[in-house]
């Protein structure tokens, strides 16, 4: 099967691949909601993997004693690779958290949902309207600022 056929096949595949973890096949241009959706999933999955690792590592004192914990933290602090990893995870956590707050506000607390209206053409979904877009742009604007602060703490702190 050629690449074109494969792409066409994925494009017609309903559900998981096209809808979630395949941003290259999704028409995300002029669609920041779609970009936020994909980023939310990718960051969420990565942070879950980090959480597993974090729980295992923080178990070190109970498993091997405090000396093992101190030597582990010294090794972690000395290696640039670990700091870069921490920096990436911090960025993922910040995006996932901020976008999560936006989702909580709109989906759970009903902020920026507006009154029900008849879907007259040209129909614009509520999520594309000014209030919700502003929240989304706020997330994208604050994310690099908070990520930079986290980077400063990790590398210089």
């Amino acid at each position: 099967m050629g690449l074109t056929d494969r792409v066409r096949q994925y494009r017609n595949l309903p559900g998981f691949l096209q809808a979630s973890l395949n941003p290259w096949l999704i028409k995300a241009r002029n669609n920041p909601e779609r970009l936020a959706f994909v980023l939310h999933r990718v960051t969420g999955f990565t942070v879950l993997l980090y959480l597993f690792l974090h729980i295992i590592v923080t178990n070190t004192p109970a498993r091997a004693g405090w000396e093992a914990w101190d030597s582990l933290m010294e090794a972690f602090g000395a290696a640039l690779f670990n700091k870069v990893g921490e920096f990436i995870i911090a960025g993922f956590v910040i995006f996932h958290g901020m976008n999560g707050i936006r989702l909580l506000l709109t989906e759970f607390f009903g902020v920026c949902i507006g009154k029900p209206e008849k879907p007259k053409p040209p129909y614009i979904p509520p999520s594309f309207k000014a209030c919700q877009r502003r929240l989304l742009y706020l997330v994208f604007a604050l994310w690099p600022i908070l990520w930079a602060i986290a980077g400063y703490i990790i590398f210089k702190g």
């Binding site: 959480l51 923080t58 909580l104 989906e107 703490i153």
Partner: protein, 114 residues
């Protein structure tokens, strides 16, 4: 597994819990708040003090984060292969129990400082 509505509701509740608890957990590492450097805050004396003073908060954070993360992952697996729903529910339960057990042992089985 519980009803879809219940699981989604719990997903939102754990998200609210995580905003509070994770902010607190991350604030423990911010030098401008604690007055000590990031790497100093990870030394055994500081960590042991945190576990003994408010270990239950960290444990609650671990449970909430595990539930929220694993339930989100379960949702993705359900979308990927809806026919294996029971298998994904079982994966969720097993992973939650294993990692919640490790987290509990971290707080409960903590040795005294040398």
């Amino acid at each position: 597994m519980a009803r879809t509505w219940t699981m989604q509701f719990l997903q939102y509740v754990t998200a609210i819990l995580l905003i509070v608890l994770l902010s607190f957990h991350l604030a423990e590492r911010i030098p401008w708040i604690t007055g000590i450097s990031y790497h100093e805050s990870l030394k055994s004396e500081r960590v042991a003090d945190a576990y003994s003073s408010y270990g239950w908060v960290l444990l609650l954070l671990a449970y909430a984060a595990l539930f929220h993360g694993l339930n989100g992952f379960r949702g993705m697996l359900h979308e990927w292969k809806p026919r294996h729903g029971r298998l994904w529910d079982l994966v969720f339960i097993i992973l939650f129990l294993v990692f919640a057990g490790i987290a509990t042992y971290t707080v409960v089985g903590l040795p005294p400082l040398p």
